[in-house]
């Protein structure tokens, strides 16, 4: 039973950065902007987050550094893709390449340093409950925050007027503009939110997961976050399921190898991506239900003044 607990704890830790980054990208894409630069924003968030924590000794300040760094990166994207109406796909890819290089530069002096990782919650009595105690009451702050964040995003998108307007921008920016909504401003805020989340998700890696910084340590998690948004068909509820599913498959395939289960590890590593492809096919075949991509996703909007 202890093993089950240990596995669930590892799954939660592995899923959290995916969930945070994907939540941000979901909001960005719901506003009609496709930012493929998640990986780049994450890795810069990781470098700055670690730097902040290392310089000040505070994980909280480190996380803030990560958020600010991710937001600044997303502003570069907003300037190009929204301000200058450049192709979003190309800009997003460029942002990733920029981020990978920039993070190496920022992080160069922190390589080889160590910090104390984020503390885990400990409530005497509750945390000590066998099996579920550590899972429910013994996580680090990022895990709880990621869940609060996705619930907040769900509430914002489906229960507030501002959320409705944001979705309107993503589905039909011409109509939203005709109704007098500042489409570009709304999209910029959505892009910034996406950047902040990606920065925080990146910062999670050196602050809580493996408490050191190494260039390239995000190792493709930004791309998984992008796939997750598609997997979730742009819905917050499905995003949570998807993130934990991806995390669970990643961890379980490692355990399966340790147990000597005869399934090739390469196949199991590929499973989450296979699942994304299958979900995409199912979505496109389903006539009713299942919301598909925001109609204006990735299209450039230039308001006529």
């Amino acid at each position: 039973m202890e093993l089950v607990e240990a596995i669930i704890l590892s799954v939660l830790a592995a899923s959290t950065p995916l969930l945070i980054a994907a939540t941000g990208e979901l909001v960005t894409e719901r506003s009609g902007v496709l930012n493929l630069g998640v990986e780049g924003m994450m890795i810069v968030g990781a470098a700055c987050g670690f730097g902040g924590a290392w310089l000040t000794g505070s994980i909280f300040i480190g996380a803030l550094f990560g958020i600010v760094a991710g937001t600044l990166m997303s502003l570069v994207f907003a300037l190009m893709a929204l301000g200058l109406a450049v192709n979003q796909v190309a800009t997003g890819l460029a942002l990733t390449i920029l981020g990978v290089g920039l993070s190496g530069l920022i992080g160069a002096r922190f390589v080889g340093e160590r910090i104390t990782p984020a503390a885990h919650l400990h409530i005497p009595g509750l945390t000590d409950i066998p099996l579920i105690g550590r899972i429910l009451f013994g996580e680090d702050a990022f895990v709880y925050f990621s869940l609060a964040l996705i619930i907040g995003v769900w509430w914002f998108l489906y229960r507030t007027r501002a959320g409705l307007i944001l979705r309107a921008c993503g589905d039909n920016h011409v109509s939203a503009h005709a109704l007098g909504y500042p489409v570009l401003k709304i999209r910029m805020l959505a892009v910034m939110f996406g950047g902040a989340c990606a920065g925080l998700a990146g910062a999670y890696l050196p602050l809580a997961y493996t408490p050191f910084f190494i260039p390239g340590m995000t190792a493709g998690r930004g791309w998984i976050a992008l796939a997750l948004v598609v997997f979730a068909s742009w819905r917050p509820g499905r995003l949570v399921i998807g993130a934990y599913l991806f995390g669970a498959v990643t961890i379980l395939q490692l355990h399966a190898q340790g147990w000597g289960v005869g399934i090739p590890s390469q196949f199991m590593s590929a499973l989450p991506y296979l699942a994304t492809v299958i979900v995409l096919v199912l979505l496109s075949r389903a006539r009713t239900g299942g919301s598909t991509a925001p109609a204006a996703l990735g299209t450039v909007f230039v308001p006529d003044r």
Partner: protein, 358 residues
């Protein structure tokens, strides 16, 4: 304005990828690196060797390196870039550069190439590698002594002969101490992903392993073992910073003597295409200090190191028994032949796991 910005960005990119000192009439030596020089592992060790080379022969040579060069066909352009920049001796420091290096070597017969860990050579292309399995053997002895649970955890990158021979050498050594030793093997299917390496280490420890060994590049596994109060071995470089009470030893890649020797040969005109596969005796790698272990274990490790260096102990001394219980054909006299080790694609008896693809 947009054009200016683009030009500026392009200029910055170019400036960032090449770093070189300028001087005339010096031998130009180029390096292609797989990762960033700050990876604290594989690439970092090559960079340390380059620095040692500059320190030793800096007045006669000029070095250039390109970092973060992906393996595969794309590497060809980077290698060619170094040729066009006038480099006469080029070190390509990862297995995946093998075919690109060979292609460029055929195109430029007057330039000499040195490819790490590969097996394809040409008139102007040498290969070099190290007998790391010797170090793995020493680690196996230490691991078996230090493990209380009798279960070792092994994180592999890819099931290639270099990694498989490392696992076999480890378990053969461990069996001489504890015949019933178990090893759990997890393939990360990556050389470098700190998060995944940490997850693999957690999984191994959760399944009862108490000594963690890795053949992946980041210090993540060391750090997890340290957090959980277990033991671990470093990889490529000194990782004791990440586990001051955890690291038992580490196999250190020490390329400097080889690089200096090859550049000296190039300078005096005696360079020729060779296959160098050196071990502890030729200082192709070294063992980090034996730490966090009792004196008797340290003695066993030191004795084994001395015996291997002197050529008295060979990790793959015949008979070697395969997983199916049959003896492996002994093609090298008293030991397995080098070719059998370089192409090793079987597990030895005592590993209850299946080699992927078998």
């Amino acid at each position: 304005m947009r054009k200016t910005l683009l030009a500026l960005a392009a200029g910055l990119l170019l400036a960032g990828s090449v770093s070189a000192a300028s001087a005339a009439d010096k031998l130009k030596v180029g390096f292609i690196y797989l990762g960033p020089v700050g990876d604290l592992g594989w690439t970092y060790q090559h960079e340390l060797a380059r620095q040692a080379l500059v320190k030793e022969l800096g007045d006669k040579i000029e070095t250039t390196f390109l970092e973060n060069v992906p393996e595969g066909p794309d590497a060809e352009r980077s290698i060619e870039q170094l040729v066009r920049a006038g480099n006469k001796l080029i070190f390509t420091t990862s297995f995946g550069y093998m075919d690109p290096t060979l292609k460029v070597a055929k195109k430029y017969p007057n330039v000499h190439f040195e490819h790490a860990t590969g097996y394809k050579r040409d008139k102007n292309m040498s290969t070099y590698s190290a007998k790391w399995y010797q170090g793995r053997y020493i680690q196996g002895l230490i691991a078996a002594k230090m493990s209380k649970s009798g279960v070792l955890g092994y994180i592999g990158s890819f099931p290639i002969p270099e990694v498989v021979s490392g696992i076999n050498a480890t378990i053969l050594a461990a069996q001489t101490i504890n015949p019933n030793i178990k090893v759990k093997i997890i393939w990360a299917n990556t050389w470098f992903d700190p998060g995944k390496e940490a997850d693999a280490a957690k999984a191994l420890i959760d399944q009862g392993a108490d000594v963690i060994m890795q053949h992946t590049d980041s210090p993540a596994a060391m750090q997890i073992a340290s957090e959980r109060g277990k033991f671990a071995f470093g990889q490529d470089s000194e990782m004791i910073k990440f586990g001051p009470k955890t690291q038992l030893t580490s196999i250190l890649d020490t390329w400097a003597p080889y690089y200096i020797a090859r550049v000296k040969a190039e300078l005096d005109g005696s360079w020729k295409s060779e296959d160098s596969w050196g071990g502890l005796d030729s200082h192709m790698f070294a063992m980090a200090p034996y730490t966090n272990m009792p004196d008797d274990v340290k003695k066993i490790a030191e004795d084994a190191q001395a015996a291997i260096t002197a050529g008295k102990l060979h990790p793959f001394k015949c008979p070697v028994i395969g997983q199916d219980g049959k003896e492996i054909e002994c093609k090298g006299g008293a030991n397995l032949a080098d070719g059998q080790i370089l192409g090793m694609n079987f597990y030895v008896k005592g590993i209850d796991d299946k080699l992927p693809g078998k």
